[in-house]
Structure formats: C-alpha cells, structure tokens
C-alpha cells in the first residue's frame, strides 16, 4: 500500500504489463530517457531497454503505422501520443487501419494496440495541448475508448487495456496526473483479476437520489465536488463515472436515470456533437417516461480551446455544473 499519483499508477501498470508479456512494447516521442513529458514512462527504458521502450522519430502517423505493423506480427504496442492535439497526424492510420483491420480480415488480424493520450485542459498549456477529442474516436467503430478518473482506475484500466484484444484509445486526464490515492500498485490485475471489474462498466462514484451527474476522466472529480457542494444545499446527486465511452455502459446510466429522473452530462469537449449528445439521446430513448427533465449538457463551447488565461471559462466548473443542476431541478 502506497500513496500513488495517477502518473505513477500508469507507470506501474505499464511496468507490470511489460513484465507480464514480452510482446508488449511502448512507443512514443520522448518516452525513453526523458520518461515522457509527464514522466509516465519514467525508468521504463532503463529497465526494459530501447527495443521494448522505443522513442521513435517525430511522426505520429509513422508511429501509429509501425505499431500496427508490429501488432500484425503478434506484438502489443502501447503508443503514447505526447498531447491530445498531436493525434491528428495519426488519424488516418487510426480510422482506416487500426479500427478496421480486424473486420477487414474477418478476424484473422488482431490489433491489440493501446493509444495513450494525455488529454484535456486545466494545466495552463499553450494551444493544441488541452483538447478533448474523444468524440472522434467514440464515433469510430472498431475502437474502444476509455478514460480513467482516478489513480486506482488508471492503474487497473491501463493493464486491462493492454490485455484487451481490441485497439483501445486510452484517454488520460492530464490535469489529474498528480491526484493521489492509496493502493498497492504492484498487482498484476490481469493475472490475478480478483475484485477487479470490467473496464467497460461504469462506476457509481457517489450515490444520490435527486439527479445523476455523468462524467468521465477529468470531470469526475469536478462532479464529485459539485455533488459535495450540492449536498450542502440539501441536494442528493448521484455521480456516474463512465470509465468506458465505447462501449458505453448504458445499463448503468439507465438505472441511475430511472432512479433520479434527472441527468446532467459533463465533459470538457465542445458540447455540439460531443459524447454528451449520445448519452442524452440514448438515455432519453430508454427512459422517456421516467425523465423529469431533459438530459442537460455542460461542456466546452463551440470554439477552439482558448488561451490558458481564459481556459477557466471554457472548462466546466462547479458553478456551471450547479447552474445546470438547478435548471434540471427546476423542470
């Protein structure tokens, strides 16, 4: 048992995966000696060598494409994209090859690749370093998309993602890299899955009865804080941590919506055509008669991510979420 940051939790998960399966390789710009710009791969090249922990040329399509080639031969590459805004050069390989090869080959070719993307804002960074592009990947059949919200889940889910036979886009909430939790980060959760649930199931992060807040990744903590603040005002909010965006655990969402009758979805990405739209549409369809209010959404504006000095206004925060909660309660 130790106090562990999310960054360290992922580091531990990667180390365990590298130890468990010699076909696991890490690939990504600066993940070697530097340990990645967030130090998530710290020490791994020193331990496993530069044939297992590869810091490749600066070319994301090249990294993704060669990772696919390695996976075709039975390897399990874990690719790090340095920041959210730099995944787009690899988009073609992801959408046309990574997502579709298993189908195209009628199952003959598996691509158990994990694409780790530190994403989201709130760290005062320059442009292209604070984006939330998860909707693009969620809309793309053939990919799985997940995002842990806390150190323990990060530790467990990265191992599960690597063990998964499908490609996984693994969104790491970079502003939560330094959040801490206490747990044993030496457990191989794949070899010994006792007590570890499926990464594709949502988690009730807090129980409540009046309204359901839905979030994933960085916004889960924000929603927990909202629930705390709302409790002070006498409101009981349930918080669902989605964990996996594709597949989406609709059953858990529906159960919670059925219980509370009200739902607010929160994500950093622009609201328009974001993941929240899917949640709203699907939950509304399944809970049409039980909803007391429309599913409301709080998210980024329909605008490019703004400069750091004003990002607080772009990002959902306690006040904006509470405002939506008020609105939903007022129906």
């Amino acid at each position: 048992m130790a106090t562990i940051t999310m960054a360290k939790a992922i580091n531990s998960g990667l180390r365990i995966a590298l130890e468990r399966d010699e076909k696991v390789v890490l690939m990504g710009e600066d993940i070697g000696k530097l340990g990645g710009v967030f130090r998530v791969t710290d020490g791994l090249q020193a331990q496993f060598g530069d044939m297992r922990v590869i810091d490749p040329p600066l070319a994301e399509s090249g990294i993704m494409g060669t990772a696919i080639g390695m996976a075709m031969r039975g390897w399990r590459p874990v690719v790090e994209i340095q920041f959210d805004g730099f995944v787009y050069p690899a988009f073609d390989q992801i959408v046309s090859q990574l997502a579709k090869s298993h189908k195209r080959s009628a199952g003959a070719t598996r691509l158990p690749i994990v694409v780790r993307i530190p994403y989201g804002g709130g760290i005062g960074a320059v442009e292209h370093h604070s984006e939330s592009p998860e909707a693009y990947f969620a809309h793309t059949a053939g990919l799985r998309v997940m995002s842990p919200a806390n150190p323990y889940d990060a530790f467990v889910m990265i191992q599960q993602a690597i063990a998964c036979e499908d490609p996984v886009i693994f969104f790491e909430p970079k502003r939560r890299y330094w959040d801490k939790a206490d747990f044993d980060d030496t457990v191989d959760v794949v070899a010994d899955p006792a007590g570890v649930g499926s990464p594709f199931k949502a988690r009730i992060a807090r129980e409540g009865t009046d309204l359901t807040l839905v979030a994933y990744g960085p916004m889960v903590r924000t929603c927990l804080e909202v629930a705390e603040a709302a409790a002070e005002e006498g409101r009981s909010l349930e918080v669902v941590d989605l964990r996996s965006i594709s597949p989406m655990d609709v059953d858990t969402l529906v159960a919670s919506a059925t219980k509370t009758g009200r739902m607010v979805v929160v994500h950093e990405a622009s609201v328009f055509c974001g993941v929240g739209a899917e949640i709203a549409a699907r939950v509304t369809e399944k809970c049409f008669w039980t909803m007391q209010a429309p599913v409301l959404r709080v998210g980024g504006m329909h605008a490019p991510y703004p400069p750091a000095r004003v990002e607080h206004a772009f990002l959902p925060d306690l006040d904006r979420v509470l405002e939506a909660v008020d609105q939903a309660m007022d129906y």
Binding site: P56, G62, M70, R73, S246
Partner: protein, 365 residues
C-alpha cells in the same frame, strides 16, 4: 513519356536479348525463365478474365495490372517463403507468386469482402486501398522481426502517385533509422489515375532513397529478369542486416486505372501503342523463342490458362454474398455491448419481416 528512360537497370532487352549487369549478375536457367513466363502469362490471363467478368457485371470493379506483370512477378519471385509482403491494390502478380487464390482477390472487387485471405497464411497482406498506409505496416512488421531475431525481409508496394504521401516518407524515415529489412517497391506505371509523372515528381522516385540514407535503384520494370535480380539483391541485403532499399520499377499501365476509368480522356493513344510494343511478356517470349522453346510448352500453357480462366469464372460466380448479420462479426475481437445490442435488434428485425425487404418489397434507394 513516349520513350523509355535510358538509365534503367536492364537484363533483357525489349527485343529479347539477355544483357549483363556487373552489379546484378543473374544465374538463371532457361527452364526458370520459362517458369517466369508461365507466371506472366497466367497473371495476364487472370487480369483479362477479371476485366471480362467486370464487363459482364460479375465484378463491381477491376484494377488491371496489365503491363506491370514483369515488375510484379520479378519482385514476387525474388521473395523467400518467410518474407512478408504489404501490397497496394494492384499487386495481382505478387499475389500470384504468394499462392493467393485469384478468386479470393476477386471477392474484394465483387464486393463480397473487404479482405479475402489470411495474411499470415500466404505471408501476403491484405490489399490496401488508402494510398501509402501499407508502407508503414511493412516497417512495423520488420521492426517486430528484428525483435524476434527472425531472418526475413519485407516487401512493400506503392505507386508513382503514392510516392508523394506523407506515410511513404515516414516509412522511409523509420526504415532508415532502424535499419529495418524492408524493400520498398515503387511501380512507376507513369500514371496516378489521370495524372502523369510530370504532376507527381520533379525527379525520378528512386532518388528519394538517398535522402533517407539507403540505396535506390531504377529498374526496367518491364524486364522480369532485372526485376528478379535487383529485388533478390535488395531482399538478401536486407536479410543480411544492411537495411532497406528502394526500387523504382519503371513500367507502364497498359490498361485503364480501373474498369471505371476512361484513359482516353487524358493520354495519347500513340503512347499506349509505344508501350504495348514493349509489353513485358513479348520480350520473354522472344528470348524463349530464340533459345528454341518447343511449341508444346506454349500449348500446355494455353491449356493451363484456360483451366485458370474457368476456375476464375466459376469461382467468381460462386463467391458467397455476405449476409446482414455478418456486419456485426469481427468489429471487435471481444464482446462490445453496443454491437451486441445492434446485432440483437437486427436479428429481431429480420425475424419480424422474414427478410429485409418484406414490408415495401424494396429497400428504397
């Protein structure tokens, strides 16, 4: 251009005369050359048969390789069994040398599948339609091999147009830096659909290799012997741990880009005539005639071709249409809740109507 460049590596002239090249000696018997001719001839027949099937409505599309058979058979025959190939979408000749059933490839063009064979069974990847993507897979495959300590090389194919794609350049980078055993084969058939070389390059493709630190060669792509010799050298060089090479096979697409294309809109019939006269099959035949190949060889080849044609025709028609429920298979390797939900919905829907077009007798437009 209505003349072949004069800087091409050549071992067999258009007139069918063997010439030697000190860098690429080729020790080959006439029987082996006959065997190469057999491949060229049968692939040509396959190509023609597929074109005919498309005209008859049995295929939605066909991408002819006519004119490029020497480049493909020469390169393909240079492969060792353990070598892997990452093709584009026109590599019927290479596929042939890997033992892929032509009918399997027809499935893609008939529209019954987006794949058609198991890449590992033939060491021949699926056809790749997005230009350039496959070159990176080739390098990744080679990188995996280097980690496994295997002794094999990888061949990957792209076109003159494709040489401009960022993915191809990135593949050069990675292969060069990692000294990966990859042979890049650019079939310069002088057209990217309608766009001639003048719109796609300022200097011949093979020069690119230098900028990435490995050798590049420009070969007469209509000369099966030169293609065999140079590709063999490059693959052996790669297997020996000396890294990648780039081969530009200068050739000509005698046919249309695909059966949907109308090349009369953009190229000169005279040019086509010039290159038809340099048909890669003709020069091998001329050589074989010059060394006294008996008529019986050609006769039995004709018979073999006829048999192949029948196999292709019958096979194409027998290709089984995929069924609606197949849409849900293999989207993922492990169960995915949404796919399972949609699968169940479709099953219920089909069960309800008996078939997909019961209600209004048609599926609309």
């Amino acid at each position: 251009m209505i003349s072949a460049p004069d800087d091409l590596i050549q071992l067999l002239t258009p007139e069918g005369q063997r010439v030697s090249n000190a860098d690429f000696p080729l020790d080959i018997t006439d029987d082996e050359i006959r065997s190469l001719y057999r491949d060229l001839f049968l692939v040509r027949r396959w190509d023609n048969e597929a074109t005919a099937l498309q005209r008859q409505g049995e295929l939605a599309l066909w991408a002819q390789c006519m004119g490029q058979e020497a480049a493909q058979i020469g390169a393909g025959r240079a492969l060792a069994p353990q070598d892997m190939v990452f093709p584009s979408y026109r590599e019927h000749g290479v596929a042939w040398t890997r033992g892929v059933d032509p009918v399997a490839i027809l499935g893609l063009f008939r529209g019954t599948t987006n794949g058609g064979w198991d890449p590992r069974k033939h060491n021949f990847g699926l056809y790749t339609i997005v230009i350039g993507n496959q070159c990176l897979h080739a390098v990744g495959w080679a990188m995996a091999g280097m980690r496994e300590g295997t002794n094999d090389a990888v061949l990957t194919c792209f076109g003159d147009g494709g040489s401009n794609q960022g993915d191809v350049a990135e593949a050069f980078s990675f292969a060069g830096i990692y000294n990966a055993p990859v042979v890049f084969l650019c079939q310069n058939n002088q057209y990217a659909i309608s766009e001639p070389n003048t719109r796609q390059m300022r200097v011949p493709v093979f020069h690119k290799a230098k900028g990435f630190g490995f050798p590049g060669f420009r070969v007469d792509g209509n000369d099966v012997l030169a293609m065999l010799a140079v590709t063999r050298w490059a693959l052996e060089n790669a297997r020996a741990g000396n890294g990648p090479a780039l081969i530009e096979a200068f050739t000509y697409r005698i046919g249309a880009h695909t059966t949907s294309d109308d090349p009369t809109r953009y190229r000169d019939p005279e040019e086509v005539e010039y290159w038809k006269a340099r048909d890669p099959l003709l020069r091998v035949k001329a050589y074989l005639d010059s060394v006294g190949t008996p008529q019986s060889f050609y006769d039995s080849l004709d018979a073999e071709a006829e048999e192949l044609a029948q196999h292709i025709r019958a096979g194409a028609r027998a290709l089984v249409d995929p069924q609606p429920m197949d849409i849900f298979d293999h989207v993922y390797a492990e169960p995915h809740a949404l796919v399972e939900e949609e699968r169940a919905e479709m099953a219920a829907y089909i069960a309800q109507f008996g078939d997909l077009s019961a209600r209004h007798g048609h599926g609309g437009h």
